[in-house]
């Protein structure tokens, strides 16, 4: 069997091996392609930059292992940015059962516990079951819904929570997800209380959110790994996402190459048949 026949019969394996190489090489030896900043990401950055002491930023976390690579770098960058803002309060609530794992990981990675005082500058509420009802409850009357935080501390013992009662006290909400809870925040916080909302999303969720962005209902979107890389650049702390962008660029080029090749083969074979 000739090499051409072997490749022809095992073309899928060839495609997979080449994709693996295309992704692995830039991850090991970054090319350092520039990362252009999208307006959707810049808007999130600018809104956080405009926060003043006493403002409350709520972070919704529905990060799971499956979306870790795309959304977790966004989450870390936003927490890092918020921690740099003096006097800004951070309230974190998890919408997925895996959320607390990634929230604690992000708080440790950003050294939140040593940089700020827990209970005064930031609070982690933990996982709240109930999807939209949970978000509605948080927006409506947080203290009526929850009595303790993730660690079991009474909310009444945490000074930061004295002034945070409902969505009227939230300055901004940023939800990190691949699920519908971003929509729930929009329904419950934006539509009812007019709270400013932004999303950190996986790529497949972006088209939904973009319609809300262009309508002015959300102030920004961090779009998948690309958005995370842009945010890392904006805060001047390149990390995991920036490293991944070279691989993503080459993978996209590879896909385009495959599409072209597919069509060349398709039209060539079509002509031969005729």
């Amino acid at each position: 069997m000739s090499l051409r026949e072997t490749i022809g019969r095992n073309y899928k394996q060839v495609i997979y091996i080449l994709l693996f190489i295309v992704i692995a090489i830039p991850l090991m030896n970054p090319i350092g392609l520039p990362v252009p900043i999208d307006k959707t990401t810049k808007d999130v950055y600018d809104r956080i930059e405009a926060l003043e002491p006493g403002d409350v930023a709520v972070l919704g976390c529905n990060i799971g292992a499956a979306i870790y690579a795309e959304v977790y770098p966004q989450y870390v960058s936003i927490i890092e940015h918020l921690l740099r803002k003096e006097g800004v309060k951070i309230l974190i609530v998890d919408h997925g059962t895996e959320g607390p794992i990634f929230t604690q990981k992000a708080l440790e990675e950003t050294k939140a516990y040593s940089r700020k005082t827990y209970g005064e500058d930031f609070v982690h509420l933990g996982y709240v079951a109930g999807l939209e009802a949970a978000i509605a409850g948080i927006c409506r009357d947080l203290h009526a819904l929850l009595k303790v935080d993730y660690e079991g501390n009474k909310l009444t013992d945490l000074p930061m929570m004295d002034d945070i009662k409902n969505a009227e006290d939230f300055t901004i909400v940023i939800d990190f997800t691949a699920s519908a809870d971003s929509q729930f925040w929009l329904n419950q916080a934006y539509a009812t209380y007019g709270t400013d909302i932004a999303f950190g999303l996986v790529a497949v969720k972006v088209p939904d959110a973009y319609a809300y962005y262009t309508a002015g209902q959300i102030f920004g979107i961090i779009e998948s790994l690309k958005g995370a890389a842009q945010y890392e650049v904006l805060i001047g702390k390149p990390g995991m996402a920036v490293k991944g962008m070279d691989a993503q660029s080459l993978a996209h080029l590879y896909y385009i190459g495959l599409i072209l090749l597919c069509n060349i083969v398709y039209f060539t074979q079509g002509r031969n048949k005729k």
Partner: protein
């Protein structure tokens, strides 16, 4: 008896929905308190549903193991995994304990990420096998996809700033407007379904259409 039960549940649903809707429209302290309580009940029920889901999973997979149905060994894997995670969480007292984190980051995270990452490989094979310009519409889709890929990766800007600009135009004009139409359609559909549920025309949430 069954009919009476259905009338009763329909009536409860109608009253609850009315309270929530009125609370949205008017600022009445009594309504607000009642609506908050009802909403908090929904959250508690949501939390209980997690336990119910776990119970249902255990019962179902235990039966599959006992009956030696097809692929029953996977049921053992599922139950053992559930038991190990639950026991570790209960013993260490937190899902962020080092022990729980170790199991999670060593097993679940790599498996989930791998499964999600495999999409990239399927996509590569699909790009070669299926993305053919068989018709005018397919050709438009194909060209749009290429521009959007170049918009979404920095390499597009490196090749030429025009490429991502074209991608952005496709995204703004075709993507966002099309998606907005879909979203408005979903909104209207949800509203209609909600009204049907409230007035008792939609029986599915109450346990079936019969």
């Amino acid at each position: 008896m069954r009919t009476l039960w259905k009338y009763l549940t329909s009536a409860v649903l109608f009253i609850v929905a009315l309270i929530i809707l009125l609370d949205f429209a008017f600022e009445v302290p009594l309504l607000q308190r009642t609506a908050t309580d009802l909403n908090n009940w929904a959250v508690v029920i949501g939390a209980c549903a997690l336990g119910l889901g776990a119970y249902s999973l255990i019962v179902r997979h235990s039966r599959m193991i006992m009956r030696r149905t097809e692929l029953w060994p996977y049921s053992i894997v599922l139950l053992v995994t559930m038991f190990v995670f639950t026991a570790t969480g209960l013993i260490t007292g937190s899902i962020t304990s080092p022990e729980y984190q170790w199991i999670y980051t060593s097993i679940i995270q790599p498996i989930s990420s791998t499964l999600y990452g495999m999409n990239a490989f399927f996509l590569a094979a699909a790009s070669y096998r299926a993305f053919k310009a068989r018709s005018g519409e397919a050709a438009i889709l194909l060209i749009a996809a290429v521009f959007l890929m170049l918009k979404n990766a920095p390499i597009g800007m490196v090749i030429s700033p025009i490429l991502p600009a074209i991608g952005q135009q496709i995204w703004d004009l075709a993507g966002a407007t099309g998606m907005r139409g879909i979203l408005i359609g979903i909104g209207v559909g949800t509203l209609a379904l909600g009204l049907r549920v409230i007035i008792g025309q939609e029986k599915t949430p109450l346990g079936g259409a019969d």
